[in-house]
């Protein structure tokens, strides 16, 4: 199944920049069963990181306790219009995605 593209928005406020991201992902914890009672294999995002102009600012470890199609908002001190934000995620099967956004 091809992965849908992660969506990223970075909006600067007076002193901070909010980075909002949506990762289209099933976040299967490996505890559920399908309609034929087969265990659905664990498949979930494990890491999300944020870079501002190439510098790592936020790194995270996450588990299946996070809801399906995770939405996160992070806050960066500073960040001006035109700065480059880079968001990456990686899941337990080694799939990953990196998306760039320009601060607006």
């Amino acid at each position: 199944m091809p992965l849908a593209q992660m969506r990223v928005r970075a909006v600067s406020g007076r002193t901070t920049t909010d980075v909002r991201l949506l990762v289209p992902h099933a976040m299967q914890g490996g505890m559920e069963r399908d309609s034929e009672n087969r265990v659905v294999a664990a498949h979930f995002v494990q890491r999300v990181s944020i870079k501002l102009n190439g510098r790592l600012l936020v790194d995270s470890e996450i588990g299946p306790g996070v809801s399906r199609n995770p939405v996160f908002t992070f806050r960066l001190a500073g960040g001006a219009k035109g700065d480059k934000v880079e968001v990456s995620w990686r899941d337990n099967k080694g799939e990953s995605q990196t998306v760039e956004a320009i601060v607006s």
Partner: protein
Amino acid sequence: MKSARRTLLQSGLGVLTLGLFKPIAAWASWNSAAFEATSMAEALRELGVVTAKHTSLIRIDVPEVVEHGALVPVEIMSDLDGTKALSLLINRNPAPFVARFQFMTGAVPFVRLNVRMAESSWLHVIAEADGKHYVATRQVTINPGITCDELFD
């Protein structure tokens, strides 16, 4: 020159090395023991939290009552100086440890996310600041239902 590049590309070696080595270098470890822990005590031990002081400087914004445990909006923020990380745990979930966020200089110790809750529970946020742990908690009730009395009021 050109033929050498072709051969390399065709052998798939370039793609293979990128695919194999880049993720290992780019991503640090993931605390599987903490995520697999089935009790709060075990999760805290795996996270290296021995003692945590209660504080009002960690702010947790979460609804007191929610209809559905599948999508509970949570906003956490720390006003403690030098907060390096925030961890989120839900003690009545089958796996209490939800996430740990690490904030470098230049990031505000703030995050908003949606979490799953198996049942009504306490939600704990642990902050790491100058080598110490701090904690704040909130109670969340899942779908309390509606009684007949309430319906006819």
